[in-house]
């Protein structure tokens, strides 16, 4: 029996795909069966579309106006601009530390190129640590969704990436084989995507003390380190930190 009594908040999460796959499927089924529900979803989606549409065309910026007025010498101009950017990189952008006006005089386009170039030359492997410290369904769903998106993005770009998920406090519950509703999804991340999951040793110890029973963490999860060891260690080594 599909529950058709779905709150507006949940429908929002549904259209933004912020629910886990079981919930998405359940609401999708209900929407197919219930015309009123279908209309509510359509209205929400229409609102979302309209907000996107409302600013799809805006008055042109000064930058755009100037760009359109400029003569376009094409390739040579691009080369010159890029060389300027690259020379800036070579010099460590020696001007920007103490002459802000010089930086402001550089066109925005070159500025963005500089940022891109600066990042591109950093060829370290992409390493991301995702920190989950809550068992709240919204937080966990968003975090797992984020993990999926990160993996998909890097896979698409054919860029190697290492993702570690560190849990503590209520977050360790997602890794407990007796209470977690996310086991299949997490196993898939471990086995198919080589994601490493950690449950904070201290959080496990606290939970064990509080519940007076053993805390069973699923296989393949590292449990011998604390979050205070894991995260600072990664940050020191250039990992990108994302808090769920």
């Amino acid at each position: 029996m599909v529950d058709h009594n779905i709150s507006e908040e949940r429908l929002n999460l549904f259209i933004d795909e912020q629910l886990d796959s079981d919930e998405m499927d359940a609401i999708h089924k209900a929407v197919l069966e219930d015309a009123t529900l279908r209309e509510r979803v359509c209205q929400l989606k229409a609102v979302r579309e309209l907000v996107g549409y409302a600013y799809s065309e805006v008055p042109p910026s000064r930058y755009e106006n100037e760009k359109n007025k400029r003569i376009q010498p094409g390739f040579y101009r691009a080369i010159a601009a890029s060389m300027l950017v690259f020379i800036g990189v070579l010099l460590g952008w020696s001007t920007y530390g103490y002459t802000p006006k010089a930086v402001k005089a550089i066109s925005a386009e070159n500025a963005f190129q500089y940022v891109a170039n600066h990042v591109t030359v950093d060829d370290r492997q992409r390493k991301i640590v995702l920190h989950i410290d809550s068992g709240d369904i919204k937080v966990v769903n968003a975090a797992l969704h984020e993990a999926d998106q990160l993996l998909a993005t890097y896979r698409k770009a054919n860029t190697p990436m290492k993702l570690d998920v560190v849990t503590n406090k209520g977050g360790i519950n997602i890794l407990r084989d007796d209470v977690s509703p996310y086991l299949a999804r997490i196993q898939k991340l471990i086995e198919d995507d080589d994601v490493t999951f950690y449950a904070c040793a201290r959080a496990i110890q606290k939970a064990r003390k509080k519940e007076g029973a053993d805390i069973r963490i699923i296989e393949g999860v590292t449990t011998d380190k604390t979050v205070r060891q894991l995260i600072p260690d990664r940050l020191k080594n250039g990992w990108v930190y994302i808090k769920a």
């Binding site: 209205q43 609102v47 042109p60 000064r62 930058y63 920007y96 600066h118 990042v119 030359v121 919204k138």
Partner: protein, 182 residues
Amino acid sequence: MKIVKNLVAALSLKSEFAARRNKLYRIAYAWSHDSALSDDLVQETVYKALKNADKLRDIATLDAWLYRILYNCWQDYLRVKGRNVEFVEMHDSEQADQSDNYQQSQIVKRVRSSIEKLPMPLREVVTLADFSGLSYAEIAEITDVPIGTVMSRLYRARQNLKQELLEFGSDNLSELVLRRVK
């Protein structure tokens, strides 16, 4: 070889970053409804991005990083002007001349007017989500609020907009949405 490699990288990313600038400008406009102010905000964002380029560790997070800088610039502006800035008075006076196509659309006017009526935190979140297409987690990071707050703001924003827009007439709205889908 490294020089050539970097040069090629800079060239190939040129269009990508030009597009990013445009996105920043649009979201700034969605918040402020003022093209000159949006330009200033984006310029300031670029300047700060340059100054702090070494803090960006991963190109994949570039969008969220830039939005966050832009958001902080916008908050600085609001702080200086005071939270009670009357946005109705900030309407772009040049808008009608420069963009007849979209201004002619009564629906767009109505949607923008409905967005204007939202409290600023709701407006910021709904435009980041529905216009920029950012995830809840990214918006939480950009606006420095818990993800639950993002959800509730988004919910309230869409409820208000739905109410406002339904009053305008569902026929007009469905027509527009259908045209977009095509």
